[in-house]
């Protein structure tokens, strides 16, 4: 016998020398970068090593006022009067410019948010580009989207972006808003502002008339000022259900429209007749994609009893091959947790799962000393009554239950206040249609999971949100039909 070698991958870090980052970023208002009236800035750090990357402006009420005034003026004087096809050309231009600088944006997204470069390079940035391309083409075709009605823009949209897909969510919100003729005040998340301010540079380069897109960085109070601003006609928000409810209450009685993409606790259901190896890979994608910081993550796994041992054992083996570490390394599968706050929350839930009597399995990977990290984790011996089965953890933590019959698993899948997404794995076509029809959720992946495309609407039922983003449906939330 020849001796077996232990072959390990050498580090393969993506270079950071081709990106351009300043030490300080101002607010993008009225087509210019302007210093905040607040004179306050805050640091944005790299969650993989806790080092400061840059500082960004902290917009206060007066800054929000400026941004909204600029958006309102641009709406009244420019954007609402522009021929739709010209509007479209600007959006196409943004898409192209972003595409040209894709590598730079990927690196910055990874530095600022901790997600693996593999994902920012292969998912976040190209999908963002695709969104701008897709909606650019809608600008002068809206009459085909709403048969029998005429679509009118709403006015000024306030858009509040989460930290899990900073650039992609900005693209999801900006592209349809602009295509339908609205102007925008956009606020990126506090922990991940950089790709949004870099996008502001692209918008400037694209010569978009001043004020149509205003990008202001800030904290929670900046978001509140946007939500409560009287001249904002529409709020678009992606984030937690808790904040979503706050927004609903805040805008109650104001006549503001809103669409909300909120939390989830998706059921991912594996039947005995499924293609097991692909299902296992699907489970990995469903819960460990982007460190589990995904609202549609398949965080509740239901495995039919006859294959439970096999699936769980394969899942554990597969978890061992996940590479956890430097997000800039091209081989990294699992990057850093986005913030200390989020890491604490995940740890709290893992401890809760243990206290509740769940059996834990964690990948044996070693975690870096500096930065925020969490090993891929699964829990078995849990039930619907466990809090880790009920509540959104937003981290790489999977709760696994077994089931016996189709009816049982559908009932359990729907036994949740959320309804964003779901997964079903079976080789039987009719069973797919039965289950996908009965699951109360907005996106159902059959024999796959966590797939996204600009042409495909995304949105939740129940406490997972109001409205859809993506596809023709994604236009509806940005128009008044007359």
């Amino acid at each position: 016998m020849s001796k077996t070698i232990k072959w390990e991958y050498s580090p393969a870090p993506e270079g950071t020398d081709r990106i351009q980052l300043k030490e300080q970023y101002d607010l993008f208002i009225g087509g210019k970068f302007v210093a905040p009236k607040s004179r306050q800035y805050f640091d944005t750090i790299n969650p993989s090593n806790e080092k400061k990357i840059a500082q960004v402006a902290d917009a206060d009420q007066s800054d929000v006022n400026r941004a909204v005034a600029s958006a309102k003026k641009a709406y009244n004087n420019v954007w609402s009067k522009m021929a739709p096809k010209e509007r479209g050309k600007y959006i196409f231009r943004i898409a192209r410019l972003l595409q040209e600088r894709a590598r730079e944006f990927s690196v910055i997204e990874t530095l600022d948010g901790g997600k693996p470069i593999r994902e920012s390079r292969d998912v976040d940035v190209p999908l963002s580009v695709a969104h701008f391309f897709y909606y650019a083409g809608w600008a002068d075709k809206l009459e085909y989207a709403f048969p029998g009605r005429k679509a009118k823009p709403i006015g000024v949209a306030g858009q509040i972006i989460p930290w899990n897909f900073p650039l992609l969510m900005a693209a999801w919100k900006l592209a349809p808003a602009l295509a339908t003729g609205n102007t925008v005040v956009l606020k990126p998340a506090e922990t991940t502002p950089l790709t949004a301010v870099k996008l502001a540079e692209i918008i400037q380069e694209a010569d978009l008339p001043p004020g149509i897109v205003n990008i202001i960085t800030g904290t929670e109070k900046t978001g509140q000022a946007i939500v409560n601003h009287a001249d904002i006609n529409k709020i678009a928000f992606t984030g937690s259900t808790e904040v979503g409810k706050y927004i609903m209450k805040a805008v109650a009685g104001s006549g503001k429209k809103y669409n909300l993409e909120l939390g989830g606790k998706a059921a991912n259901i594996i039947f005995e007749d499924a293609a097991i190896d692909q299902a296992v890979e699907g489970i990995i994608n469903s819960i460990f994609f982007n460190q589990g910081h995904v609202c549609c993550a398949g965080s509740r796994l239901y495995v039919q009893e006859g294959i439970a041992d096999e699936v769980i054992s394969k899942l554990q083996k597969r978890m061992e091959t996940l590479i956890v570490g430097d997000p800039l390394d091209k081989n990294t599968d699992i990057g850093a947790i986005n913030s200390k706050m989020q890491l604490d929350k995940i740890k709290m839930y893992v401890n809760l799962g243990l206290d509740e009597g769940g059996s834990i399995y964690q990948s044996s990977c070693s975690l870096p000393k500096k930065g925020y990290w969490h090993a891929p984790t699964i829990f078995t011996d849990v039930s619907q009554s466990n809090r880790i089965v009920q509540e959104e953890i937003f981290g790489p933590v999977l709760a696994i239950q077994t089931f016996r019959t189709v009816d049982e698993v559908i009932t359990k899948a729907n036994n949740s206040p959320y309804g964003l997404s779901g997964g079903v794995w079976t080789d039987k076509g009719s069973k797919i249609f039965k289950v996908t029809k009965d699951i109360r959720a907005g996106v159902i992946w059959a024999n796959t999971f966590n797939k996204f495309d600009p042409a495909s609407p995304f949105g939740g039922y129940k406490e997972s949100g109001i409205g859809s983003e993506g596809g023709i449906e994604g236009l509806s939330d940005y128009v008044n039909l007359v």
Binding site: I444, A455, Y461
Partner: protein, 287 residues
């Protein structure tokens, strides 16, 4: 010979396909403008609403799972039965102050509205569904799907047409509904329930309550099992309350101002879409 004494109608609630009195035992005295006719209307309570919600939730799945063709036929059937009950509605509408001409028009419109939405029941999904050309080897399609249970505050200034204009698109789209009838003009609501009762509408798919808005709106909007709250009216305080309470479980909020429901523009497939969710399904294309 003595004059024959009329049999007067008892105005009850319509819950779970049955006609119970309000569990609270309370009533609202309704008088016509000439003070000649006095009717005791049930003053529906929080618990009546709760019971109606239980029934609506139970019915929502089975109603949504009926074939679109079947739902269309049942909506058409409602129109048929309405037509047959024309005289009774005439009398009630007249009693509630409408002229003969207005009465005839309101009934015509109400019937036509059901015929209109009967036609949509098996088409709106066709018109508003899409196959999405995603950039991967996947078949991807999007279909509107009933949101579930709708709690509705019917328009106040019409007795029949307003309520019909709300109910028809909601149930055409496969939802079940609990609706609070016009407070000012409640008489037609229970007669309309009798129409539903004889139209093969499954028990619980439509539940009709009478009572005070001010008392029930809080419960309609705060109930955690309601998927969409529909409010008709212009009261700013009510609207804010509805929107605020909707946040409790992220309900859809649908609002209509008081308006002339007779206009054709107030019937539309977009009304059906207001109580629909959007479901997108992905499946790989391979061998």
């Amino acid at each position: 010979m003595s004059k024959r004494i009329d049999i007067q109608k008892t105005y009850k609630l319509f819950i779970d396909g049955k006609f119970p009195r309000t569990e609270s035992g309370r009533y609202i005295k309704w008088t016509d403008s000439n003070n000649t006719t006095v009717v005791n209307i049930c003053r529906g309570s929080r618990k009546d609403f709760r019971n109606a919600m239980v029934s609506a939730r139970k019915a929502s799945r089975s109603w949504a799972c009926r074939t679109a063709y079947n739902r269309a036929q049942i909506l058409y059937r409602i129109g048929e039965i309405l037509e047959g009950r024309r005289d009774q509605f005439m009398a009630e509408l007249t009693l509630q102050g409408l002229t003969k001409k207005q009465t005839a028009s309101e009934i015509d419109q109400s019937i036509d509205r059901f015929i209109y939405y009967a036609g949509w029941a098996d088409k709106y999904q066709q018109v508003f569904s899409h196959v999405n050309p995603v950039s991967m080897p996947y078949f991807n399609f999007t279909v509107p799907e009933a949101t579930g249970v709708v709690a509705a505050i019917a328009p106040n200034d019409t007795s029949l047409l307003g309520m019909v204009s709300i109910i028809a698109p909601v149930i055409a789209g496969g939802n079940s509904i609990v609706i609070l009838a016009s407070e000012s003009f409640p008489l037609c609501s229970i007669t309309f329930a009798e129409v539903l009762h004889t139209s093969d509408v499954p028990a619980g798919a439509v539940n009709i309550l009478t009572g005070y808005r001010s008392e029930l709106i809080e419960h309609f909007s705060s109930h955690m099992d309601v998927n969409a709250i529909l409010y008709c009216g212009d009261n700013g305080v009510d609207k804010k309350l509805v929107e605020t309470n909707a946040a409790l479980n992220v309900k859809h909020v649908i609002q209509f101002p008081e308006q002339n429901w007779a206009k054709d523009e107030h019937q539309s497939p977009y009304h059906i879409l207001k109580c629909q969710e959007t479901k997108t399904t992905w499946h790989p294309i391979g061998v």
